[in-house]
C-alpha cells in the first residue's frame, strides 16, 4: 500500500424540504431499497458507498438530513467539508421547488466553502414516477428547473425516481465525479500545518479541564 494514494473520501450532503425523498434517494443509491412509507429523519447522518470513478476507488459519504428545521436543533456543523451538495425537490410539490434558493443560500453561508461561486451543486427532481400529480406540466417543469439551474452557473439537473430507481445511479455517479474533480483541484487540505508540527504538544488538552470519565 505504501506509495499509493489514500482512498479518496467524498462528502456529499443532500438538502431539500421535508418529504421530497432525501432518505429514499440515499437508500435507493446505497442499498437499492425503497419503501413507500413516510418516516421523518431526525438530525443528520450518513451512509457510505465505495464506487469506482475512472479506475479510482472512492468512498462516498452521503449525508442525509432532516428537512424539518426543528429536527436540526444542534445546527448544521456537518455541512462543513462537503465536496458536493445535492439539492432535492419533489416534482409534484411546487413549494419544494421554491425553497431551493433558501437551501442553497443556507448551505453556502453555513458551509462557507472557499470558492462559493464554483462550489459543485446538483439538482434532483424526484418522484417523476408520480407524473400524473405533477405540480405543473412535465414539460414546463423541466424548463423551470433547467432555467433555475442555468441561473446558478449551469448546475446539472437530473429528473429521478427513488421509487423506480430511474436515473438515481447516473445522478450520483455524476455527483461523485464532480466532487472528485474538486477534491483534486484542492492542493492541500491543511496548509497551515506545514510549519507547525510538534509531536510533543499532545498534553495541551488535559489543561482544558476535562475529567477522565
Amino acid at each position: 500500500m505504501s506509495g499509493t494514494r489514500r482512498k479518496a473520501l467524498l462528502k456529499v450532503i443532500i438538502l431539500g424540504d421535508s418529504g421530497v425523498g432525501k432518505t429514499s434517494l440515499m437508500n435507493q443509491y446505497v442499498n437499492r431499497r425503497f419503501s413507500n412509507q413516510y418516516k421523518a429523519t431526525i438530525g443528520a447522518d450518513f451512509l457510505t458507498k465505495d464506487v469506482m470513478i475512472d479506475d479510482r476507488l472512492v468512498t462516498m459519504q452521503i449525508w442525509d438530513t432532516a428537512g424539518q428545521e426543528r429536527f436540526q436543533s444542534l445546527g448544521v456543523a456537518f455541512y462543513r467539508g462537503a465536496d458536493c451538495c445535492v439539492l432535492a425537490f419533489d416534482v409534484t410539490n411546487a413549494v419544494s421547488f421554491k425553497s431551493l434558493d433558501s437551501w442553497r443560500d443556507e448551505f453556502l453561508i453555513q458551509a462557507s466553502p472557499r470558492d462559493p461561486e464554483h462550489f459543485p451543486f446538483v439538482l434532483l427532481g424526484n418522484k417523476i414516477d408520480m407524473e400524473a400529480n405533477r405540480a405543473v406540466s412535465a414539460k414546463r417543469h423541466v424548463t423551470m428547473a433547467q432555467s433555475w439551474c442555468a441561473a446558478k452557473g449551469g448546475m446539472p439537473y437530473y429528473e429521478v425516481s427513488a421509487k423506480e430507481a430511474v436515473n438515481v445511479e447516473a445522478a450520483f455517479q455524476a455527483i461523485a465525479r464532480d466532487a472528485l474533480a474538486r477534491e483534486s483541484a484542492d492542493t492541500s487540505d491543511f496548509p497551515e500545518l506545514e510549519n507547525n508540527i510538534n509531536l510533543n504538544e499532545n498534553n495541551r488538552s488535559s489543561s482544558s479541564g476535562g475529567c477522565n470519565c
Binding site: S2, T41, S73, L193, S205, G209, N212
Partner: protein, 780 residues
C-alpha cells in the same frame, strides 16, 4: 445537563473550539501520515490524542457538536484504512483489546467502537456480542454531553451493520430482535443522560438542542427492514412508552412522543393508536398535549381517510375530551385540538356532517362554560377560533353546507364584530374562488344568518374606524362580488327575479356605508336578468309586466344609491346604462322607461353638476346615449333634445355653449324614433338643426379670445358641412361660405404664432374635405 459550571460565553466558546479543532487537525494529519506508512500503532496514538479533545467540559452542545463532527470525520479515515486491512486479512483481532489500554475513557470508547465496526464489517466477530459489549461499555461515560455524543457515534457507525433478519441465519449475526434490543437499551441510557438536572431552568435550552441525539435511536429502529407491525406493537412501542412515561419529565415526554409519531410509518400508528393514546393520558401535566395529539392526527388522517374507520375518529375525540377535562389546558389549545379533530372529521367523513358537528358542538359547549365572548381577531383565542371556523369553510366551501353545522354561527358570535366580518368574508371569498352559486332562497337565508355583521346595519353599528378601514372596504367589495353568485338553479328568470328581489331587501339593510359597494353589483345582476328574460320571451307568461318589474327594480336601486350616496356621477352613468339596456328590449313599457331613465340623468346634470367641465362632458355622454336609442317616440326625443339644447345654451362659458350646441344639434337630425305604427324613423328636423347652429355661431362670435374664436368657428363649420352633405336643406352653401369668410377674417387678425399656424392647418384640412363640392366658391 452538563453539570459543570464552567461553560463559557459564545465568543470564548468560539475561541475554545478553534483551539480544540487545531489539535484535531494537527493530530489527524499525523494520524494519516502514519497510516500512509502503515504504522498503525503510531497512527492510533495520534487518533487517541485527537479524540482527547472530546473530553472538554467547556463547550455548549452546538459547539461540542462541531468538534464532534470534525473529529468523527477524521475517524472515518482510520476506519476506511482498517477496513482495507481487514479485507486483506491484516486487521488483527487483538486491536479491539489493545485500544482498551488507552488512558482516558472517552478516546478509548471512540476507538473501540471504530475497531468493533471494522471487525463486524469484515465478519470477523460475533456481531451480537460486540454490539452488546459496546452498548454496555459506553455506560462508563456518565457525563451527559459526552455520553450522548459517544452513544450517538455508536448508533451512527453501526448503521447498516445491525442484524436485520427476521430469523437468525447465522448464530453469531443475530436477528432483528437483537437490533431492537440494542436500540432500546441505548435509547434508555441516552434518555437517562438527557434527563433533567437540578439546574432545570438553566439547562433547558441545552436539552432542547441535544434532543435530536436521543431521537436518532428511534430513527434507526424505524429503519430496520424487518421491524414489522406486530414486533412494533409487542416490543418496540411498549419499551419506548415505558421509558417515556416513567421519566416524568415534560420536555422528554413531549419530544419523545413527537419522535415516535414522526419516525415510524403511518400503518404502525394506525395499528397502535389505542396504546399510544392511552399513554398520552399518563403524561406529565406540563406536556403540551395539543402538540402531541395534533401531530398524530395529522399523520394518520390520510391513511384513516382511506380506511374509513369510524372507531378512529371517536377514539381521538374521546382522548381529546378526556385530556381537556382532566388537565388545565389553555383555551386556545383546546380550540386548536378541535381544529385537528375537525380536520380529521372532514378528511374521513366529509359527506356525513354529524361527525364534524360533534366537534363544533362540543367546542361551543366548552367555550360557553368558560364564558368566552367578544374575542378579537388578534387575541390568541380569537385567532384559533377563526382558524377552526375557516377550517369548516375550506372543507365545505358553500354557505349552504356550512350552516348545517348548527354550532357554526353561535361560535362565530363569540368573536367581536370585526373578526366575524372576517370569517364571513372568507366564506364569500371561498365561494367566489370555487364558483359556488347561491341557487335558492334557503341558501340565501343561510347567508343572511351567518353574514349578519357583513350585511346588516341594524344588528351591527359601525364605528368611524370600521368604515374607513381597508378591511371594511375589502370585505364590502367581496360582498359586492358575491352578489353575482346568486343564480337561480335551472336558468328560470322568474326564480332569479325572486332571489334578486330578496337580495335587494338584504342589501337595503346595509345602510349608507355598505350600499355604495353592493347596489351597483345588484344592478348589473338585474341587467343580466333582463337579457335572460329577453332570450326566454316565448317561455314566460306576462312577459311585458315582468320586464317592467325588473327595470323598475333597477330604477329603484339607482334611486336609492343616489339618495344615500351623495355623489352624482355614478347614479348619472347608471341611469344612462339602464336606459341603453332597456332600449334593446322591446317590451310594452320600454319607451316610457327609457325616457324615464334618461330624464332622470338629465335632471342630475341640470340640478346637481355645478362644475362646468363635468357638466359639459356629461352632456356629451348623454347626447351619445340618446343617439344610440331607437325605441323612443318622436315627442320624447324632441323633449329631451330641446332640454339638452336649453342646458347647453345656458352653460357658464361661451366656448362650452358652442361645443355643447354643436354636439346636440345632431339629436334633431339623426336620432331614431318609433312612430305610431311602430316604424323606425330618423328625426330629420332641419329647422331645429339650423336654429341650434345659428345660436352656436352667435355665441362663437361673442367669444373674445381670438384664437379660441377661430377654433370654435372651424368646429361649427365642420358640423355645418356634415349636415349639408347629409342633405339638410336648411344648411345652405351660402351659409357655409359665409362662415368660411368669417373664419378667414378672424384669422387675419391673429398674430403669427405656433397657434395661428395650427389654425391654418385646421382650416385647410376642413377645406380639403369640402373640396369638389363647394370648393370653387370658397377659394376666392
Amino acid at each position: 445537563m452538563t453539570t459543570d459550571n464552567n461553560l463559557l460565553g459564545s465568543g470564548d466558546q468560539e475561541a475554545q473550539l478553534e483551539e480544540a479543532l487545531k489539535v484535531v487537525r494537527r493530530e489527524a494529519f499525523e494520524m494519516k501520515r502514519w497510516l500512509d506508512r502503515e504504522r498503525l500503532i503510531d497512527a492510533l496514538k495520534h487518533a487517541q490524542t485527537m479524540l482527547g479533545e472530546l473530553k472538554t467540559n467547556t463547550l455548549s452542545p452546538k459547539f461540542y457538536y462541531r468538534l464532534y463532527i470534525d473529529s468523527t470525520n477524521e475517524l472515518q479515515h482510520l476506519e476506511s484504512f482498517l477496513t482495507d486491512l481487514a479485507q486483506r486479512g491484516n486487521c488483527p483481532l487483538e486491536l479491539y483489546e489493545n485500544v482498551q489500554y488507552a488512558q482516558s475513557i472517552v478516546p478509548r470508547l471512540y476507538l473501540m467502537i471504530t475497531i468493533g465496526v471494522v471487525h463486524m464489517k469484515a465478519g470477523m466477530v460475533n456481531k451480537t456480542e460486540i454490539l452488546h459489549d459496546l452498548v454496555e461499555m459506553c455506560r462508563g461515560v456518565q457525563h451527559p454531553l459526552r455520553g450522548l455524543f459517544l452513544r450517538n457515534y455508536l448508533v451512527s457507525t453501526t448503521r447498516n451493520l445491525l442484524p436485520d433478519d427476521a430469523q437468525i441465519k447465522k448464530m453469531e449475526d443475530g436477528s432483528v430482535t437483537d437490533a431492537i434490543h440494542f436500540f432500546l437499551t441505548n435509547f434508555g441510557e441516552m434518555n437517562k443522560l438527557w434527563g433533567p438536572s437540578k439546574e432545570k431552568e438553566k439547562r433547558e435550552r441545552e436539552r432542547m438542542e441535544l434532543r435530536i441525539l436521543v431521537g436518532t435511536n428511534m430513527v434507526r429502529l424505524s429503519q430496520l427492514e424487518n421491524l414489522k407491525v406486530d414486533t412494533y406493537l409487542t416490543r418496540v412501542l411498549p419499551g419506548v412508552l415505558e421509558q417515556v412515561v416513567s421519566c416524568h419529565d415534560p420536555i422528554s415526554q413531549e419530544y419523545l412522543m413527537e419522535c415516535v409519531i414522526q419516525v415510524f410509518p403511518d400503518e404502525f400508528h394506525l395499528a397502535s393508536l389505542r396504546e399510544f393514546l392511552s399513554a398520552c393520558k399518563e403524561l406529565h401535566e406540563e406536556v403540551n398535549m395539543k402538540n402531541v395529539l395534533s401531530c398524530v392526527m395529522e399523520r394518520v388522517q390520510t391513511l384513516a381517510a382511506a380506511h374509513k374507520e369510524t372507531q378512529l375518529f371517536s377514539l381521538f375525540a374521546e382522548t381529546a375530551h378526556s385530556l381537556i377535562s382532566t388537565r388545565n389546558m389553555p383555551t386556545e389549545d383546546i380550540i386548536s385540538l378541535h381544529i385537528s379533530l375537525s380536520t380529521l372529521a372532514f378528511k374521513c367523513y366529509l359527506e356525513q356532517v354529524e361527525y364534524a358537528s360533534t366537534v363544533y358542538d362540543s367546542l361551543l359547549r366548552i367555550l360557553n362554560e368558560k364564558g368566552i365572548a367578544e374575542q378579537s381577531s388578534i387575541s390568541p383565542i380569537g385567532r384559533e377560533l377563526i382558524k377552526v371556523l375557516d377550517n369548516a369553510t375550506q372543507a365545505y366551501g358553500h354557505v349552504g353546507k356550512i350552516v348545517q353545522l348548527k354550532s357554526f354561527e353561535p361560535l362565530m358570535n363569540l368573536l367581536d364584530v370585526r373578526a366575524r366580518c372576517r370569517v364571513s368574508a372568507s366564506i364569500l371569498e371561498c365561494m367566489i374562488e370555487r364558483e359556488l352559486f347561491i341557487q335558492n332562497e334557503e341558501e340565501l337565508n343561510g347567508l343572511e344568518v351567518i353574514m349578519a355583521p357583513l350585511i346588516d346595519d341594524d344588528s351591527v353599528k359601525l364605528t368611524k374606524d370600521d368604515i374607513e378601514g381597508e378591511d371594511f372596504q375589502d370585505e364590502q367589495n367581496t360582498l359586492g362580488k358575491a352578489i353575482h353568485l346568486v343564480r337561480f338553479d335551472g336558468d328560470d328568470p322568474d326564480g332569479q327575479f325572486l332571489l334578486l328581489s330578496l337580495v335587494r331587501k338584504l342589501v337595503g339593510r346595509g345602510g349608507i356605508h355598505r350600499i355604495p359597494f353592493t347596489l351597483p353589483s345588484l344592478l348589473f345582476a338585474l341587467f343580466k336578468l333582463a337579457t335572460l328574460y329577453k332570450e326566454k320571451k316565448c317561455d314566460v307568461e306576462n312577459w311585458d309586466m315582468k320586464m317592467r318589474k325588473v327595470m323598475i327594480l333597477a330604477m329603484n336601486c339607482i334611486k336609492k344609491l343616489h339618495e344615500i350616496g351623495g355623489k352624482s356621477d355614478i347614479p348619472l352613468r347608471l341611469y344612462i346604462e339602464a336606459a341603453l339596456v332597456t332600449d334593446t328590449i322591446p317590451f310594452e313599457d320600454s319607451p316610457s322607461i327609457v325616457y324615464e331613465f334618461l330624464s332622470k340623468s338629465l335632471s342630475i346634470v341640470e340640478e346637481e353638476l355645478s362644475d362646468s367641465r363635468s357638466r359639459l362632458s356629461s352632456l356629451f355622454t348623454l347626447t351619445c346615449a340618446i343617439e344610440k336609442t331607437r325605441s323612443l317616440s318622436h315627442d320624447d326625443v324632441l323633449k329631451l333634445a330641446n332640454h339638452i339644447a336649453l342646458i347647453s345654451s345656458n352653460l357658464f362659458k361661451k366656448a362650452d355653449q358652442v361645443r355643447a350646441l354643436c354636439s346636440c344639434a345632431s339629436l334633431f337630425w339623426s336620432t331614431r324614433y318609433r312612430d305610431e305604427d311602430g316604424e323606425e324613423k330618423e328625426m330629420r328636423d332641419g329647422e331645429k338643426v339650423h336654429s341650434v347652429l345659428t345660436r352656436a355661431l352667435k355665441m362663437g362670435a361673442q367669444c373674445m379670445e381670438p384664437i379660441v374664436q377661430v377654433e370654435l368657428l372651424i368646429d361649427i363649420l365642420t358640423v355645418m358641412y356634415s349636415f349639408y352633405s347629409d342633405g339638410c336643406n336648411q344648411i345652405t352653401e351660402d351659409s357655409i361660405v359665409e362662415v368660411v369668410g368669417r373664419v378667414r377674417d378672424s384669422k387675419a387678425q391673429l398674430e403669427k404664432s405656433v397657434e395661428s399656424e395650427r389654425m391654418d392647418g385646421l382650416l385647410n384640412r376642413s377645406l380639403e374635405v369640402m373640396e369638389g363640392n363647394i370648393v370653387s366658391r370658397m377659394r376666392m
